[in-house]
């Protein structure tokens, strides 16, 4: 017997046969298949006991109640709560993608960081909280010792009147700096209009759900305006087959947006001429005497011609009749005069008409004169503070903290002029002007900015003057960011004191803007902090205590929660409102029932626990009408001619007339029109011939454009004709595109006087000819591979004109040229 080749083959053959008769090959195949399922990169769902945490989403000020589902310690799903009064189960895509904001390691700062390379090199070193707090506290103390506490500047993106915002402002006050700048928002413009025409301060509630005819001047109701959760929930009533009469919605939009396509009517005036359209409608209402006589005669000022020491003034009625005939408005806006007349008749003839002004998601400030013109319509039909219209209300009865303590350093500092000149005679109506900060920093007369704090904001990317701000950073010696994210602004900082993300901390929202009843939302942490981050509120308390003296005295709390609790005590002491969400009838259906004012809690502690558990305190009640009491203007009436504008401009002109000041402010019109709502052609230095097209930045609900970067889930929802790989598409009407030899998908360059962007073209019949529509939110140069380098940022080439009354940048009037690459 020898092992020759034949025998070997026979041996192998036997082996094969035996193997096949054994379980080996069959079991092995099965096992290999399962082995492939367990490769480490295959995503695996979290394991653990299911639990649900009820809280409130604080990614925007919309305050949607959310239920966060967890498996063990891991957040797996976020859904809207059906029992929460604001959103009643609805939630926007960003809210639903919240887990990615929490768990995306690539975009988080894991602890305090100190810059080690040059600015912008993105080289940081991890340090301890002790080191980080000491460094910043020492620097601020140094400023105070030099007698220059006003060189501490803060840019705050936290929701207005929220506890963290108040804390940051208090910190600056106690240190002695007047330079608290808020990121400008559309709610500021609404507040300013209410102030100028009604004299009111505080929230501007809009009872949209109870209106039967809505003229929406640019408000993207289905793309986030007014709080996405609230609008989605309201839309169910507008568009649903309910027994109540459906609301007629007219969407005024230069583009066939989601809202325009689903509205009852879509009107497309030339962008920037919305004020003229509003004035045209006002003309028809006045001409046909369809205004509310009782309101106009008894509670409005400036409607008819009036007299004062200076002589006769033109009234709003005569102004509108002379300057805004439908025939003329047609020429300005492109809307046929018959349509203007019909809209005016429908508006004035409705039971509860409402005119709202805004743009996109309602995140960015708007044109004051335009918003005034739209609001004037509400005044004309006498619906102010009536069901279905814009209301007036007092702010929530939150308790105030004890006054901060000031030493002489602080008092001196606070008396100095703000670096951004907000509130000064030149800018009497502004509260914070970020772009002026850039000029102050770049000033050759010595920098008035030393230490900059940035909280809950990413101004370098998401604010119109972001590019200028980035350049200004070179002149700012010390920048501290409190952002949890590796965003553009924090990447340019010297010190990072990362906050928790929204799911890891307690935060409050004081009256979601536009909500028609008072509501205080309190969010609770859903998971323990993942990294060595700290609540910014607690950080400010620690900083104050390290600075010592009167600053420390002003921050006597041990934890941020104490500070919130002190304010909430005011709600309890008022004896009003209810805590806790329950489903059932929506709140806006029972606003005049006068109910819900029972005190259900035997003690403040039990109310506090109830508030933490449910997430909201609210008052389902509003006192409508009361025209004799609500207006706080100098005339105690609704003012078509705003005394405050007149006074403000006259004091800037130092005794001259308002007209003298107006031209300096860049106001085109003259005479009495300056203090009245009117249409002004937007100023721009760009030449029409060189830059024939209008650039219109647009906002989409599925593309985050605020300070939080777009999560990967939402990237996935962008269509191929919006974002393909790294190229952002702009929408162009096919007629316009063909003029420049552009086809679907063509690569092109958009050039404005400020710069250029490379994009690709998407042909869209719903885009107005002559206008380039470009999405806001992309063009990031920080974050991680899901955002970095994708698309372009329209703000990089935006025209820097200022709105004449608010001083805020005009971001909707940039002229561009487009050419093939």
């Amino acid at each position: 017997m020898e092992l020759d080749r034949r025998n070997f083959i026979k041996f192998v053959a036997g082996g094969v046969g035996g193997t096949l008769l054994s379980p080996l090959p069959w079991k092995l195949v099965d096992d290999i298949a399962i082995w492939t399922q367990n490769w480490p990169w295959v995503p695996v769902p979290a394991k653990g006991k299911f639990s649900a945490v009820n809280t409130v989403c604080s990614l925007c000020s919309g305050a949607c109640g959310i239920q966060v589902r967890k498996a063990g310690d891991r957040v797996v799903k976020i859904e809207g709560r059906s029992d929460f009064p604001v959103n009643r189960g609805a939630l926007c895509p960003l809210g639903m993608a919240g887990q990615q904001i929490l768990y995306n390691e690539g975009i988080r700062w894991k602890g305090p960081m100190k810059r080690v390379g040059p600015r912008g090199s993105e080289e940081f070193r991890e340090i301890t909280w002790d080191q980080a707090l000491n460094e910043l506290a020492t620097r601020i103390k140094g400023l105070r010792e030099q007698g220059a506490p006003e060189k501490l500047i803060a840019i705050d993106g936290n929701q207005s009147r929220s506890t963290v915002a108040l804390m940051i402002q208090r910190f600056l006050d106690a240190v002695g700096s007047p330079n608290y700048l808020r990121v400008p928002r559309e709610e500021d413009t609404h507040a300013l209009v209410a102030h100028l025409m009604q004299g009111t301060h505080g929230p501007v509630p809009i009872d949209l759900e109870n209106s039967d005819f809505i003229l929406s001047f640019g408000c993207s109701l289905l793309d986030g305006w007014g709080g996405s959760g609230r609008m989605q929930s309201a839309w169910r009533e507008f568009a649903g087959d309910t027994e109540r009469n459906r609301t007629y919605l007219v969407q005024i939009d230069p583009r066939a947006s989601r809202t325009a396509l689903k509205a009852d009517e879509w009107i497309a005036p030339l962008p920037g001429t919305e004020a003229a359209l509003a004035m045209g409608i006002a003309h028809v209402i006045v001409k046909e005497k369809r205004y509310n006589k009782e309101f106009i005669e008894n509670h409005a000022f400036g409607f008819d011609d009036w007299f004062d020491a200076k002589g006769k003034h033109r009234g709003f009625s005569r102004f509108v009749l002379e300057a805004y005939a439908p025939h003329d408005v047609e020429k300005i806006t492109g809307i046929q005069k018959d349509a203007i007349i019909r809209l005016a008749k429908m508006f004035a003839g409705s039971r509860a008409p409402l005119a709202i002004a805004g743009r996109g998601k309602g995140l960015l400030p708007g044109s004051v004169y335009e918003f005034m013109a739209v609001h004037a319509l509400n005044g004309l039909v006498g619906r102010i503070n009536q069901r279905g219209n814009v209301l007036t209300a007092e702010d929530l009865p939150l308790a105030s903290w004890p006054e901060a303590t000031y030493d002489s350093v602080a008092v001196d500092g606070l008396n100095k002029e703000r670096v951004d000149l907000a509130g000064s005679p030149r800018y009497p109506f502004s509260q914070g002007l970020l772009h002026r900060l850039c000029e102050a920093a770049n000033s050759t007369q010595g920098s008035s900015v030393d230490t900059l704090l940035i909280c809950s904001a990413n101004p370098i990317h998401s604010v119109p003057c972001g590019k200028d701000l980035k350049e200004a950073f070179e002149k700012i010696p010390f920048v501290t960011s409190f952002s949890p994210f590796r965003d553009e602004t924090s990447m340019m900082a010297d010190l990072i004191l990362p906050d928790h993300t929204y799911l890891e901390k307690m935060a409050d929202i004081v009256w979601p803007p536009g909500l028609q009843y008072p509501l205080y939302a309190l969010s609770q942490p859903v998971v323990k902090p993942l990294y060595r981050t700290r609540h910014s509120g607690d950080v400010f308390i620690s900083l104050a205590q390290r600075i010592g003296g009167t600053v420390s005295d002003s921050f006597g709390w041990e934890h941020f929660e104490e500070a919130i609790k002190e304010r909430v005590k005011g709600l309890y002491d008022s004896g009003k409102g209810r805590v806790g969400a329950r489903g059932g009838q929506p709140v806006w259906e029972r606003l005049d029932k006068g109910g819900g004012l029972d005190k259900e809690y035997p003690s403040f502690q039990s109310m506090w626990e109830g508030l933490k558990g449910s997430g909201c305190w609210y008052m389902p009640f509003h006192s409508f009408g009361r025209w004799a009491e609500i207006f706080q203007t100098p005339t105690k009436k609704f003012e078509f001619f705003s005394s405050k504008i007149d006074l403000g401009l006259r004091s800037y002109a130092k005794g001259g007339s308002a007209g003298d000041a107006a031209s300096e402010l860049g106001i085109v019109s003259h005479g009495d029109a300056i203090s009245m709502p009117h249409y002004e052609e937007a100023r721009t230095e760009a030449d029409d011939k060189q830059y024939p097209l209008l650039l219109f930045p647009m906002e989409l609900i599925n593309l985050a454009s605020g300070w939080v970067g777009n999560p990967p889930f939402l990237n996935k929802t962008l269509l191929d004709h919006q974002l393909e790989k790294d190229a952002l598409f702009v929408e162009l009407n096919p007629k316009t595109a063909s003029q420049y030899g552009l086809a679907e998908g063509s690569r092109a360059v958009l050039r404005s006087p400020k710069g250029e962007l490379t994009i690709r073209i998407h042909l869209f019949d719903g885009a107005m000819p002559g206008v380039v529509f470009i999405p806001l939110g992309l063009g990031h140069t920080a974050y991680d591979r899901y955002l970095r380098g994708k698309g372009v940022n329209p703000f990089d080439i935006i025209d820097p004109t200022e709105d004449p009354l608010s001083g805020q940048p005009v971001w909707w009037n940039t002229r561009v040229a487009v050419s093939r690459v």
């Binding site: 025998n7 026979k10 036997g14 082996g15 046969g17 079991k27 399962i34 367990n38 769902p45």
Partner: protein, 211 residues
Amino acid sequence: METGQEQERKTKRDGWIFFVVGLIVALVVGWVVFPLLLYSEQRQPLNYSHVKHGPESGVGLECEECHFFYEDGSFSGIPGLSKCKECHEDPESLYTDSPEEAKLLEAFVEPNREIPWLVYSRQPDCVYFPHIAHVKMGEIECKVCHGDFASNDTLLAYKVNRLTRYSIDIWGRNIAGYKSNTWDRMKMDDCAECHTREAKEYNNACFVCHK
């Protein structure tokens, strides 16, 4: 000298011997060596005795004490440390002189560490299995799928498949996959067998278990 014919017969016989040897070697490898290599035995962190804790014992715990349904219908599975701590809370006082109890208190109760039990019936992540549908609606007894744990004084040896990382109890302790009791295997076919037998057509589609 052998003749040509004799030589041929010899060669043929040799050939057959090689064939048979090859066959036998392969069979032994396939049936004996392969299962030995494929599975690696791991020890449970503690040798828990169901008998000593169960309804018939001095302790007298009912099964539902540790293995129950939550209000939302999800199944508690294997109890966490907090359940054991309901009785075994003091690291100093022991109920028996069993070394396992000592280990429980020293290694887990004291440092408050969850016991890393090795789960015999763990299924892949692609499988959606609701206990409540089977126990409350299907009225199936636990031992039909899991075998009779209640009468075990010790825990079965946990043998894990080196390739798939699942317990041997899924394929079955018989390498051929042959089962004599319903609880011998827990592969998809075994679930499908019962779903088919119960003749509920809607119960046998892919998406019923693979959501």
